[in-house]
Symmetry: C2
Subunit: 123 residues, 2 copies
């Protein structure tokens, strides 16, 4: 698979794919004889993981660290597990903040809808 195919597949720019690789968020992708990236299944899985975690707000840094450990071999299972758990905690914190904000928005939306129906804004 070429970079533009992967780009279309995951709806992410080719530039960003190259950037992700350079930043270490995915392991180095295989190349053709001419030096052009040729994404295999494993490469795609890494890309997918990176996109999923980034879109949830994990830092480039954290994802790169996980990949770095993964490439280092099986001795790194413990630190990898630690990293994943830490990131999960971080995510949980953000999740909670979002839930709170959403509750707040819902309350306001409700109030505005009531005001709109009754034509009154006192509350």
């Amino acid at each position: 698979m070429t970079i533009s195919e992967v780009s279309r597949l995951y709806n992410i720019s080719a530039d960003t794919l190259r950037y992700y690789e350079k930043a270490g968020m995915i392991p180095p992708v295989g190349r053709t004889d001419g030096g052009i990236r040729d994404y295999g299944e494993a490469d795609c899985s890494w890309v997918e993981l990176a996109i999923c975690l980034r879109s949830a707000g994990l830092s480039v840094e954290a994802i790169a660290e996980y990949v770095r450990l993964s490439l280092e071999g099986e001795d790194t299972i413990t630190p990898r597990l630690l990293l994943l758990k830490e990131q999960r905690e971080l995510l949980m914190g953000k999740y909670e903040k979002m839930r709170l904000a959403m509750e707040r928005l819902d309350y306001k939306i409700l109030k505005y809808e009531q005001a709109q129906k009754s034509g009154v804004l006192e509350w």
Copy 2:
């Protein structure tokens, strides 16, 4: 309340509070005769709302727009409601992405824990 008190209360720097005001994320704060900011209850509520929405990922721009409409008067209820609903949708999208990433992390964590127990990494 002085700016430093509000700063301590919400754990946000005085600089950021001034920035939020300048950016329109909160309405202009009342002043003493000497021109020093004096935060009242309403000001604090605005600050709280701004912090809550920012921490959930709403843009400075969107929050400022909501405040701008609020200050414009009661004629703006409809656009305000629209704005809140739009932002809620945006938030929902992010929320969903986070849920997905969390599921993925949980799956990986589980696998790593199993691997750690059995001493095997094949999966």
